[in-house]
């Protein structure tokens, strides 16, 4: 996925001289390609993220298309006010890329883990949020982001968890992307790194539908409600806090259009306690396949008597 980002960035910079990459002294080999092809369109702004975002706003005002790269623990959270005032208030076309989203920097601790970035950004007026699940979604998400006429946050996981799509998906603002068709009682909506987990975990519930949600904001409430309305209950998965992320967004959509049962699976109200492998931390946060299945079992068992007779329990 990061390779897809790197390639998309280099291609965009080659096509459009207005595209400028700004990094806060992060990224390492990720930018080898763009530095080789378009060294003049690469700006290392130093370890000074607040200034970097202000500079990006100024460059956008001067007619450029800045792409601001940082770890998602720093861009956006450290620079939330700069994004709000310098960029969003003027609807400037700046793309923010938050790399290493979630707990993938598993050995580095709380400073480098980010499970609050989407929640922090969702309430900023006019800012769109993309969260691709694989390389194909990333390429499509970069196209969407660079063509947008306002600010975009693109959330990127660090681990490459493989392809979730067999064909190249079409991304549209507000729309979810089908990954696995199904007419069963459960529909699984997942974003980013959790799409592969959803696919594997869903096997336990026959005929589950699985959707990837690469566009968290805007989210087409009618579309989400319509998809959820075809099933008995909804499971939402994200490597992010259960507060304010995709689970909240889906619950908002369904509450307004088609009230249903929503199981929000994500990081509970806590930081990582230990360090260790990425897999270890995902287990600590109950985001590995087995833990997800256990949570869904509990959710299903607690559902009130249903309107249809279709079996939910395995």
């Amino acid at each position: 996925m990061r390779k897809a980002f790197s390639a998309a960035l280099a291609a965009a910079a080659g096509k459009d001289p207005r595209v400028l990459l700004l990094t806060g002294d992060h990224g390492y080999a990720l930018f080898d390609e763009v530095r080789r092809l378009r060294p003049d369109q690469y700006i290392n702004a130093g370890v000074a993220e607040q200034n970097m975002v202000g500079v990006a706003a100024g460059l956008a005002k001067a007619g450029y298309r800045p792409v601001v790269y940082g770890l998602s623990a720093f861009v956006p959270v450290r620079v939330l006010e700069q994004i709000k005032i310098d960029v969003c208030y003027e609807s400037l076309p700046v793309v923010f890329v938050g790399d290493g989203a979630g707990v993938v920097y598993s050995t580095l601790g709380a400073s480098h883990q980010s499970t609050e970035d989407v929640a922090a950004l969702r309430s900023l007026p006019g800012l769109s949020i993309l969260s691709p699940a694989d390389a194909a979604e990333m390429a499509a998400a970069m196209d969407l982001a660079l063509a947008a006429d306002g600010p975009v946050y693109l959330r990127m996981g660090k681990s490459d968890l493989g392809a979730v799509h067999t064909t190249t998906p079409t991304l549209q603002w507000g729309r979810m992307v089908p990954v696995q068709p199904g007419g069963g009682p459960l529909v699984w909506l997942a974003t980013g790194s959790m799409v592969p987990t959803a696919l594997t975990a869903a096997i336990e519930w026959a005929d589950s539908a699985v959707w990837s949600v690469p566009c968290i904001k805007p989210l087409d409430a009618g579309h989400v409600a319509a998809v959820c309305g075809r099933h008995e209950a909804v499971v939402v998965l994200e490597e992010h806090s259960v507060y304010g992320g995709l689970g909240s967004a889906v619950a908002e959509c369904t509450a307004a259009r088609h009230p249903t049962w929503v199981c929000r699976i994500g990081v509970r109200d806590r930081f990582s306690r230990c360090c260790g492998s990425y897999e270890y931390l995902m287990h600590e946060h109950r985001l590995d396949v087995e833990s997800v299945q256990a949570q869904v079992r509990d959710f299903v068992a607690a559902l009130p008597a249903r309107r249809s007779a279709r079996p939910l329990a395995a």
Partner: protein, 249 residues
């Protein structure tokens, strides 16, 4: 407009009015409209002094008497802090330490495009408490933004008292020089000196960004405001308003 009924940041507008007047009169070279694509950029990073900019925009004919008379009225656009939605106001400030970085980005953009457009960024000495100001200066120097002039309005006060008591800047000219700026120091109320020094800085050869340390008096021109920091953010009564106007006239 300072009598609009609500509290206003009046004293810090008086410290920079001559700076802005000289910029608008002789240095910004903005033509018919505030969005003139050929003029230079004015970035008011210390957004608290925005009433002084409104006065300039009125002088330029881009704001009307109606705008001034209905300051803070329901449904009006002129706010108590600088706001980029107002034509002629480049950045939204008030949360301090933002504007200079945006100005640095503008300067970098204009330099890359080779337009010859300059950026004049006005920063407060209280604002210089903010970390991003120093990040921006490092960046401006590293990227050789010689089309950037940073004007520091050193009125010696910030919200709660004298700057030297709250967060002493020490030798600010030395600091700007140390950060790589070609820096001059002037009396910020002497329009002739301001004009001359800004011209000199603009015409200097070399790649260094330009710095102008303007020593000013907060509340300048109104004896009961000068040096009295309760005028940082307060409300004018009919009595104080007329007393201030009488002195200014």
């Amino acid at each position: 407009m300072a009598r609009a009924g609500s509290a206003v940041h009046i004293a810090c507008a008086f410290s920079l009015i001559e700076i802005l007047a000289v910029l608008y009169r002789s240095h910004l070279k903005i033509g018919e409209a505030p969005d003139d694509a050929h003029g230079h950029h004015l970035v008011l990073s210390k957004g608290h002094g925005v009433m002084a900019q409104y006065a300039c925009l009125r002088e330029m004919g881009w704001l009307t008497d109606h705008d001034m008379d209905h300051y803070f009225g329901d449904g009006t656009l002129l706010k108590g802090l600088s706001d980029a939605h107002v034509p002629g106001v480049e950045v939204s400030s008030g949360s301090l330490g933002h504007g200079l970085s945006v100005g640095v980005g503008l300067a970098l953009g204009e330099k890359r495009k080779g337009t010859g457009r300059r950026v004049f960024a006005v920063v407060g000495d209280g604002e210089a408490n903010e970390g991003p100001i120093w990040e921006a200066l490092l960046f401006a120097s590293h990227f050789q933004l010689s089309n950037l002039t940073v004007i520091l309005d050193v009125n010696g006060f910030q919200a709660m008292g004298p700057t030297r008591e709250i967060m002493d800047l020490g030798c600010i000219t030395g600091k700007l020089t140390a950060f790589g700026l070609e820096t001059r120091e002037v009396d910020g109320h002497d329009e002739a000196v301001l004009d001359r020094t800004l011209t000199e800085l603009t015409n200097l050869p070399g790649d260094r960004p330009r710095g102008l340390v303007a020593h000013t008096i907060k509340g300048k021109g109104v004896s009961f405001m000068e040096g009295h920091n309760r005028w940082h953010y307060t409300r004018l009564t009919d009595e104080t308003f007329h007393a201030a106007v009488a002195e200014l006239n």
